[in-house]
Amino acid sequence: MIGLWEAALGFAFMLGMMFLGFHVAVVMFAVGLLGAALTIGSPIVLAAGTQLWSASDNFVLLAVPLFVLLGEILVRGGSTDRMYRALAHWLSPLPGGLLHTNIGASALFAAVSGSSVATAATIGTVALPAFRNRGYDPRLVLGSVAAGATLGILIPPSINMIIYGAMTNTSVGRLYSAGIVPGLLLTALFMLVIVTVSWWRPSMAGAREPMAPLRVRLRALWGLVPPLGIFAVVMGTIYAGWATPTESAAVAVVVALLMTAAERRLSISMLHDCFVATVQVTAMITLIVVAAFYLSFVIGILGIPQALARFVAEIGAGPIETMLVLFVFYLILGCFLETLSMMIGTIPVVFPLVLTLGIDPVWFGIFLVVMCELALITPPVGMNLYVVQGVRREGSVVQVIQGTMPFLAMMVLLTVVLIYWQDVALWLPRITFG
């Protein structure tokens, strides 16, 4: 058992090692080992093997490679191009024009992708060329893609939710269901930003796009079938009770493969590229997860979560105050840390506290995902900012950052709404799962 000061020292040491460029997983594991060696002794150090095996032999986490594979197949199969063009026909007549398509396409791609960074790279590549010579303010174009793409982890499926579910024993099906309403709400808020800007500063939003004939628009709807079909398969099989969330991911992979094969876009070499990318991304994520499982094991034995819970109880903070403090904590941490490291690294300490305060674990999962979304677009370390800038290949990243600011404000608004009206997240899982 150690006190909060030692724990805070350990946390500072962990951040310090990370900033010196050591691998995030190694730092988490080393801090765990060091804590065990200094306070408990060798049996806990030697138990690392048993804990590593039980952390990686995990059926829930198997959904991570399956969703990565799904995304790889869809992108390499060219489904995303057609999806974007189809949406453009329907959304660009709105005030703000093609900008709405960025948000809509991000939300739709989010319904099949488990990752925001993948969403940003995919939508960015498809969208940015469409804006050439159309007179839109580049900041707004870039901001809408960078921010819109963060929906990738809020609208199910979501790798972050899978990992959260696996680490905290929370139902992934419920988490998925809880992400839908906040995801749609955030999509609407983003579109509201675009409408507002185009009304307030018409010069920024480009000309309103003319509407294509209905026949053309209807034919384009075909492009929406692959993502909507796969989303229906994933959520439908879970909701109908046919499949667990992991099993639904496996079904989605098979369906995507069949769709791609039917369009004659499948080849063995493309499949092998998908496999290599999948195994690489999964290993990168899982190494952090298994290291964090071990860190969490040591932290639990040292009684740090209990000490933190006692401290919070002593200063008399209730659930709302605690959540507001955590909001600020994650907002700051998110500026400097990559999202998975931030989420996985803090769950061992924060989650037990959340439980003692009587906060719903499903709700807290959604809160954490929104914190990760914020972290993706806050400088200096905001992966989506750099991905969009990288796809664009001109100008400065500062323009991307400026462009995300109004969207960032909407995410802060959503967080406040979530904290005060928890039913925004909890209503749908309650009516679908009881």
């Binding site: 691998h23 190694v26 198997l62 099993e247 496999f275 200096p380």
Partner: protein, 200 residues
Amino acid sequence: MDSSPLHTLLNPVCRFAAILCGWGLLGLSVLTCVEIVGRKFFGFSLNGIDEIGGYALAISTAFGFALALVRRAHTRVDLLLVSLPARAQAVLNALAALVLAAFALFMAERGYAVLSESVEFRSVSNSPLQVPMWLPQGLWLAGLVLFAAVAAALAVDAVRRLLRGEMRSMNALYGPPTVLEEIKEELGTELPDLSRRAAQ
């Protein structure tokens, strides 16, 4: 991606292992569809797909650790690092490679301890499948050993380059990847003239 003789040697080995794991994941997905349809409509169950799925994850991530290492995909925070002078960066990159190698060796050694206990107890999974534990754990350990070997080889190479003062090549090979390199990974394809700009 920047390359060295060592990377050129290790990359295809790790890639081959990853492709095998990929086929395994795909096979498992197909079996899962069979299981769902069978369970729902024909009253039969393959029994234990979830158990095999757990093993599949453990094994494919263990092999993936090495692949991700060769391709510099393991997460690092480069915020401070990239603003340091080349010499300091090189020292930190070599240190990171060394510590990672120590970690990978420790994991492999502990993985071996887990396997040898399973062999000693002749442990059998406590499910209707009754899988002898040495089987999945043996494959898992093989992946961890590959990771340890690759990490050790890269650490030795990194230190050697550092001692020879090859700072630039050292940082290009062992530093965190640049954003452009990461996007290329993410999209799976080379963007036109992306690599040329990265070199500028």
